[in-house]
Symmetry: C2
Subunit: 104 residues, 2 copies
């Protein structure tokens, strides 16, 4: 049986990959069908589909069917908050490493 900590790791893992981050970024403005997503992030349809299903399973995305198309959306708006905080940390890290370079 999965513990609470495993669930937390699953959510974070669902965000911790470049292709998936690109998808999250693209879904910021709202739901999109797969046919829009994979060209936008420049990945294969099959690969994109796997990542979408993975994020669906871990509870990061939600899915809606409409005719032939399937629309994915960010399920919890908090996810975007996380991504934004990470962006902030990265900026701090980069400017810090930049300072270290200048010091040499």
């Amino acid at each position: 049986m999965k513990s609470l900590i495993d669930f937390r790791a699953d959510i974070l893992k669902a965000l911790a990959q470049p292709t998936r981050l690109k998808i999250i970024d693209f879904l910021r403005d709202g739901e999109r069908c797969v046919c829009e997503i994979f060209p936008a992030i420049d990945e294969e349809q099959s690969n994109t589909s796997r990542h979408l299903n993975m994020m669906l399973a871990s509870g990061v995305l939600s899915r809606r069917k409409e005719g032939l198309k399937i629309f994915y959306a960010i399920k919890h708006p908090e996810v975007l908050k996380i991504v934004d905080i990470v962006t902030l940390i990265v900026k701090q890290e980069i400017s810090e490493r930049h300072e270290l370079m200048k010091a040499v």
Copy 2:
């Protein structure tokens, strides 16, 4: 060369693993030496050391030497914010899945 999105994935990856989450949780109250950390999270010293070094490299932890001991600490307080948000999402997910069970 690494892109910004790769750096973001690296930070998230550093958090997206049960053993590392346990370490983060244990470091909430401040810096600790390795000799305190690995018994607290009930992992081998070598394994703990690898995870600590990994989180150090990705910028999640900082390190301080003092005699024989090496103290690790959470470098960016924002990291705790992220973990807290994830906990919130997990709780929402679990209560939602609980509702689904009742519906059956």
